[in-house]
Point group: C2
Chain length 200, copies 2
């Protein structure tokens, strides 16, 4: 006899596929499913299928979308002349929560990482250049992650785009709001010093 009956074992294994879920957590989730009504379980299963089938990449920016063009690109109130370049759709969502950015986005689908075999050709850089070639973009804000891969990608894009006459900016580095300076790492502190601003 296996440890669990087969349909339960299978469900536990499936939950283990989720990011950061181990055997114990997966077992707890599987029991949550068993505690659901049949309707709730069906609705859960359908949400998985539906998300997978209906969510695609926006034809313009590569952001997650349930239509050919995403809600941001098709929003007339957003400024298409400012494009924020991010690694993935999660960053778009993080920036959208700020509610202060009114430009559009471009999702690269990752960052240049020779270690992982990710070259510029694997990213949506060609698409970005096409957008720039249309001549309506005046600023590219590079918001790749502040790590080696993100930096490499930012440098690469900057060298590629600056000659095209478009302003290229990068998110400011510095100490995160609410953090304790005592625990900030040296590189962050150095960047925060370098980027210091006059108090008015």
């Amino acid at each position: 006899m296996t440890e669990y009956i087969l349909p339960l074992q299978k469900l536990i294994e499936e939950f283990c596929r989720l990011s950061g879920v181990g055997q114990k957590t997966a077992t707890r989730y599987a029991f949550s499913v068993l505690d659901m009504t049949e309707e709730e379980a069906t609705s859960f299963a359908n949400a998985i299928i539906s998300a997978k089938q209906n969510i695609r990449e926006c034809e313009i920016c590569g952001n997650l979308s349930d239509a050919p063009v995403c809600a941001i690109c098709s929003d007339a109130k957003r400024d298409p002349s400012v494009v924020c370049v991010v690694e993935d759709a999660k960053t778009v969502m993080a920036l959208e929560k700020v509610k202060e950015y009114h430009g559009t986005y471009h999702v690269l689908g990752g960052a240049i990482s020779p270690m992982d075999g990710i070259t510029p050709a694997d990213l949506r850089i060609k698409e970005l250049l096409s957008r720039i070639a249309e001549g309506k973009i005046r600023e590219i804000i590079i918001a790749t992650n502040p790590n080696i891969e993100g930096e490499t990608t930012a440098m690469y894009l900057s060298k590629l785009i600056t000659p095209l006459g478009v302003r290229v900016t990068r998110l400011a580095y510095g100490v995160p709001v609410g953090a304790d300076l005592e625990y900030a790492d040296e590189v962050t502190l150095l960047r925060a010093l370098d980027g210091r601003r006059d108090l008015h």
Copy 2:
């Protein structure tokens, strides 16, 4: 525009139904689903439906089963004269991991809790008495949880079953193996003292 596109929002909400999952974790899981292949997502969804449809209660003991009678009750090597009474199927699994118990089980489906409106009539006690009435059971090991509800249930069952001439036992209380006595609560220590055994 809502914070997330609809199919994603819906999937996040569904993940929030799982025990101990909040908005942030649910969002991480939803993205895990988007990272899956279509086949993997379908397999995940099917596992949910299949678990819900194929897992039922064993007709004899109430344990989770994918057949009318569970693998333990239908195992000829298990001793049907010893029945371990537990609150739920999770406890059956915990005890099965020990691999030293060779009797059978009876799952009550909860514990008596006037606060939550759970009375003896809500538990599978009638079914337990029917099994005892068949005359083949010589010992009932009560393994309800060591809390007020579990204790109440244990006392109730003991008073009900002892007059029937069946031996009724309770799991030993004491300090858990590997624990630090310094942090053990007084009630546990008192029980451990009460239940002390001679060293041979």
